[in-house]
Symmetry: C2
Subunit: 456 residues, 2 copies
């Protein structure tokens, strides 16, 4: 282990030093990948020295997601205490299904989930679990909705035509999950949004009524807290009224922005969350932990047990079920994804997590102000979002984003809303400062000025 730890430490220190100078890695076109890098596997092992050389090349050419030039994904930056926790998870290598195999790490996960439930305002009957990513926690929400609607389904299979509802701006995993659960993609109703990207609840109600009239069975309303493109928040209070009226499960996909729960200033964006049935947030997005750290919490924990518990006498051999987390997990063996969040939380406190969230809105405000105050830009942003959407000098967003990527200048993506396509800058890296955001614009402007020929 000693030698491998030394290699790890050398590589990370070299990477950190290089990142400070070069926030964007060398761009390797995918068609050149296997020529540029030695990724081959072979019959015989290689020396530690050769391995380190090969690894250094790989590490240095890997996209840098933690720097002040990475704005491409709904995650970014590096909360070092969270990394500390995740590095320890790797070395400890516990599987989180039983107390016997994970010991106090079970307590780590339970404390984190309890705290989140308490912050929502839920009582003792609430609980939660972790799953590898928001698609998976949303999948769990849909399964619980399906099984709560008809508990025979898990035993006898799907026997009814069930329908689920999400906004047209909701994450694509709703469709994917509808296929997975046997509900079917055709039974996902993609509800229109208002001008600010929020689900139109009048349309939602009307669609549900039509489906019922047609003999279909509505089982799930999926609200989004932070849509993928605009970062919009659906109105949970209105959605709950509808869910209650028609007895439908209400799940909130807060994978992207559910962590506003931690912010006194911004938690009004999920007002009414205490009345929903299940709620998902990804700590690896707004809270800045490494991938993956996706939580799902449930107002009534019975549903977790109903949909996910299994007899496995060879596995659950000691301690009470409450400490054998495999009973409420979608997985069997499962890595310790809670420790990274716990170490960060323990280290910076709830107040520190609040600061991390608030910082992102501050950075977004800086970006929006810049865009709105500069006539070279067209603004497509909504307020109260950590996605900032705009175009520059009328250049097509796809063109400028691709060229910035291929020239190793910036990693940023584009998105569409209704008729418009635009650059989408996400300010989710709370280790950035306002000047990093201004530097983003400067870098882009300079690039366009110096490469005029490319943009004609």
């Amino acid at each position: 282990m000693e030698r491998s730890l030394e290699i790890f430490n050398r590589l990370v220190r070299e990477l950190l030093a290089d990142e400070a100078q070069n926030p964007v890695a060398e761009y390797i076109p995918s068609r050149h990948l296997y020529q540029r890098l030695d990724l081959k596997l072979q019959k015989d092992g290689i020396s530690a020295l050769e391995l380190e050389k090969s690894l250094k090349d790989l590490v240095f050419t890997t996209p840098r997601t933690a720097t002040n030039a990475f704005f491409n994904q709904l995650f970014g930056g590096r909360q070092d205490k969270a990394i500390l926790g995740d590095l320890l998870s790797v070395v400890l290598n516990n599987s989180m299904y039983t107390y016997k195999a994970a010991g106090p790490q079970i307590g780590v996960e339970k404390v984190v989930l309890r705290e989140v439930c308490d912050m929502i305002g839920w009582g003792k009957n609430s609980d939660g679990t972790l799953a590898p990513g928001g698609s998976m926690t949303n999948f769990m929400g849909m399964l619980m909705a399906r099984d709560a609607y008809n508990e025979k389904t898990k035993h006898e299979g799907v026997q009814q035509k069930m329908t689920v509802y999400t906004s047209i701006e909701g994450h694509y995993s709703t469709s994917k999950n509808a296929a997975f659960t046997g509900i079917g993609r055709d039974h996902v109703r993609k509800i229109a949004t208002d001008a600010k990207g929020r689900m139109d609840n009048a349309v939602l109600r009307k669609t549900i009524q039509e489906d019922i009239a047609n003999g279909l069975h509505p089982i799930l309303i999926n609200c989004t807290a932070g849509t993928t493109v605009l970062g919009a928040f659906d109105n949970l209070i209105e959605a709950k009224e509808i869910a209650k009226e028609y007895n439908i499960w209400l799940h909130v996909d807060g994978a992207y922005c559910g962590s506003v729960l931690f912010s006194a200033k911004h938690k009004h964006l999920i007002e009414g969350v205490e009345n929903v049935d299940s709620f998902t947030l990804n700590a690896h997005k707004m809270l800045g932990t490494p991938l993956g750290c996706s939580l799902i919490v449930v107002k009534d924990k019975t549903h977790l047990h109903n949909s996910f518990s299994n007899d496995a006498s060879y596995l659950y051999q000691t301690d009470h079920d409450e400490f054998n987390l495999g009973k409420t997990s979608i997985q069997c063996g499962r890595r310790n994804d809670a420790l990274k969040l716990w170490v960060l939380w323990k280290s910076v406190g709830t107040n520190g997590l609040e600061n991390i969230v608030d910082k992102q809105f501050e950075l977004a405000n800086t970006a929006r102000k810049y865009v709105r105050g500069n006539s070279d830009y067209t603004d497509y942003s909504i307020d109260d979002a950590v996605s900032v959407c705009f175009n520059y000098k009328g250049i097509p967003a796809e063109e400028i984003c691709t060229l910035l990527y291929e020239h190793s200048q910036l990693l940023v993506g584009y998105g569409s809303f209704k008729e418009d396509t635009f650059i989408r800058l996400v300010t989710i890296n709370a280790t950035n400062e306002n000047e990093d955001i201004l530097k983003f614009f400067k870098t882009m402007e300079t690039f366009v000025a110096e490469h005029e020929a490319l943009f004609t």
Copy 2:
């Protein structure tokens, strides 16, 4: 980062030094957990010094899965090169859905999957992906089987009574997954096994015929390569004949022991694997990488696309689909679980992986020989398995395993097969030596001798 890396290095070095002396951590009864350890989260952050103290206490009391006294799970030990790879994954923090976000790490995953497909003997039309654990890769196998049987299912939902087949010794995730996919647990046929724990293929054929006669639709035969308790291997050649005759998808759950693929000496145990439709193996089991590293490979990659691809224009913005791995993944954002296996493989070569697998059978033979040569033991083992099953002096297995755990002596579990319950020793930690196995028996015997009063 610097300070957190220092803490990490100190904690790991202290842990490694302590593990060498104390292979089993202090046992904390779950009812004392919150008194014994400070797991509370609070409003204000704490100092790095306080954090390190708190973390040390947690790390030192966490079950030690890598030592020569851990035989409790279907994983164990520490392949340090794989750990190096996983530590780097944490720091690099790429999401594996796009080439833009993951760059050459996409190549890492593709190379590993290609190599596994080649070893099976599959051509260019094969492919694979990673998912977080064997339950999830088996879930993917079931989904592909379901969608291949009736491609309308993913659009229109489940409309037929479908049935799936696995042995009574197969993993419980088959039932769980049947609930998830809308097939229903009641439609899982648990086929009887022969005396050595292998699915009885005559019973399988008869059951399929009955189901067809009753108007049901058989869609999946799930064979197991390494059953959870005995470590038995189903006969793939016979199963394939049946699958072919009735046009049923054949999946192999090799989560536990599919890695015999790497061993010239033992790969006969999965003879015929080249003719199955999909195959799962967990590198975090036999190959000794940290959790999780579960691969699923598919003979015809069309099925991966059919069941898992989605339009997500905001996501797939550059490069060819073949480099945007999100198109064939069950997840959206996804950590880099391939790098740990790649670093290990690159470092020790295919020959080195073979040695890792072979070592486990060697250790198992040592254990079986000891048990069979000692009249205090009752042997329940099958040959050709890395699970070694036995009882000692007629003491109930549950009793002895629980006491060894609560006295921090050994972590080992028990299992049942037909009428018998017994201790199940898994020799999956290839960093152990034959003397570690003999020490296991010695420790248990000494414990029983010194605690006679507990066993009356």
